[in-house]
Symmetry: C2
Subunit: 207 residues, 2 copies
């Protein structure tokens, strides 16, 4: 345990070290860096994170992060509201939006079912999804959760809940990444890519 020359510095290092992926050495480097910056800059960092935590709103439709009660995507008349993509996290929303390939709306679960981490269905925004499905306005729900045991468990849980409604449930395609060489692709992915092969013509149309 290192001894710090100042309690104020120690306090700041302790707090910074709670950030994900930040150890005590990096936290100290950050704290010393902040000491060299001017007072206004440090205040704007401090207040930005506090303000974000206190004032951010989650869209009442899709639970995406928002500045309004309904997020920009859910409020847009240009989006297809009958097509809902279920994701774990808002980072996934940002990733899919960046592709420019999706014109539907989202539903953010806020996590996935993970018995090891003690996260059950009640901790996720699943009720909201069921309510949306129950309105009868949704034609297709795309499950875009991670390919892990937790992701598969959550997919199965949602699938069972959603079969009660008259809608199609799909999952995003798994296969060899664009640009990847076959010999370096893991065998599970390669195996799935052969089982779920697609007509050559459909690839031509997407170009």
């Amino acid at each position: 345990m290192q001894s710090y020359p100042s309690k104020l510095l120690e306090q700041a290092v302790n707090e910074l070290a709670k950030l994900p992926g930040i150890g005590r050495k990096t936290a100290l480097r950050m704290a010393l860096h902040l000491l060299k910056r001017n007072v206004q800059e440090v205040e704007s960092l401090g207040t930005a994170i506090i303000k974000m935590r206190n004032d951010i709103i989650y869209c009442r439709e899709c639970r995406n992060i928002s500045d309004q009660e309904v997020c920009v995507i859910c409020a847009s008349p240009k989006r297809d509201h009958a097509l809902v993509c279920v994701v774990e996290d808002i980072r996934d929303v940002m990733a899919i939006e960046n592709t420019g390939q999706f014109n539907g709306v989202y539903h953010v679960l806020g996590g996935i079912i993970s018995p090891i981490e003690g996260i059950g269905p009640k901790d996720l925004h699943i009720d909201g999804l069921i309510s949306r499905a129950a309105t009868g306005t949704i034609g297709e729900i795309i499950l875009a959760l991670p390919t892990t045991i937790e992701g598969d468990t959550t997919n199965f849980y949602l699938y069972r809940k959603l079969t009660a409604f008259n809608l199609q449930v799909t999952t995003i395609a798994r296969g060899v990444s664009v640009g990847d060489e076959l010999e370096h692709t893991d065998e599970v992915t390669l195996g799935r890519s052969i089982l779920n092969r697609t007509p050559y013509e459909s690839g031509l149309k997407q170009k």
Copy 2:
């Protein structure tokens, strides 16, 4: 450029990305992590860094970070105040204190002379060091600056200023790290370690 679903989130990410070594992706991960923490925790992080920046004091003797006007080391009657170790940064003070091998006091320059980064002698706490030397109470000044062109330049600048006073100027030993193999040591370090060889007996005494 990614588009964020909320201005508050974007603001927080922008501020976090200004921290050293933090890119926008890591900043986003941090911001989403903070959103999951409770309000009190985020407030204690925000206020800890603001409080540190506003309230921290630099010791009027050695310019080390402190909670009082004179730091714990400078205020201690057990330390040898005739022996002053000059360092770049408070991290160096912490590193030397951790060795438990130094019983003198410090002088923190707050940087080193670097024409490329526009840091000249006026930007460093060199006047304070000269004033301390001028009191005539210092017997030895140890220069413990990095072995870089900037460090060497600063060493030479300080050495020329300090020869005006009746005191000894030394530098920390450079040589092969304890535990390192000779074949993996760079040739400059290995060359210096031969030039600055020490009597075998002095090594025995240090054990």
